[in-house]
Subunit: 128 residues, 2 copies
Amino acid sequence: MVLKIDMSGETPIYIQLRNEIVKGIGRGELAAGENLPTVRQLASELGVNTMTVSKAYQLLKSEEFIETDRRKGAAVKPAQSMGGPAAAGYREHLEDELELLSAEAKLRGLKREEFLRLCEDAFAEMGV
Amino acid sequence: MVLKIDMSGETPIYIQLRNEIVKGIGRGELAAGENLPTVRQLASELGVNTMTVSKAYQLLKSEEFIETDRRKGAAVKPAQSMGGPAAAGYREHLEDELELLSAEAKLRGLKREEFLRLCEDAFAEMGV
DNA sequence: TAATTGTATTATATGATATAATACAAAACA
DNA sequence: TGTTTTGTATTATATCATATAATACAATTA
């Protein structure tokens, strides 16, 4: 999987990492049960500290997107187990994000159809 | 207009302020040409520093959402003037955000129809 | 003249982010 | 039995963003 990280960007590295991995899982590039790179491996590839990668993994773990085992490494969690405590409040978060994106789209002159088309296209990229 | 600010949240106050104002304009609660509260007024209401509000206004100004005048205050910019330099790169930003939201939605178990319904509903809240 | 506007300045405090260098528990492996 | 590998913990340190306080400025309005 390709991880695009912008070292000079404003978004923290561990957040960028988390986002890229979530998108990778969403696209199906990372299958359920598949192992992620080790923290040392990924840190070395990206040229960042191991704790930075570990922080991203811990975030993904707290969100129930992955599981970590101190000896076997980190692996993508099966999709059917997505009903835990992390799912609570998710819908509210999504609605809030969509509200902001809708407002920006409106102000930038996008029409309803254009906006929804982009939403459809984005979702279509996901899945197997 | 109601500005919901979470002082203990992780999002910086001036970003929250910016987002709330963008949503307010998008919803039509703040009409084009309408004056925003003065930085001192808003800072006083929210219990934050004037420079924090000023920072939010400067961000909105750089994004061409509002205009500021040192003597007349800040006002919502007309929608027809939304083709400036700030619009460049916006579409890419939107697509990236939608990709992340789509991935999360997929992983949380949302079906295509549910996701698109939320997108429609969010956009429907905007504009007069 | 006095008040109001966004903004600039300087100083300061705090927290988040990121790194470096080690170390640990526990399993896998040779 | 050692050695390696895993995520994680620890401690220390450095840097930057955020936020505040207190003051001041330019320029207009009242």
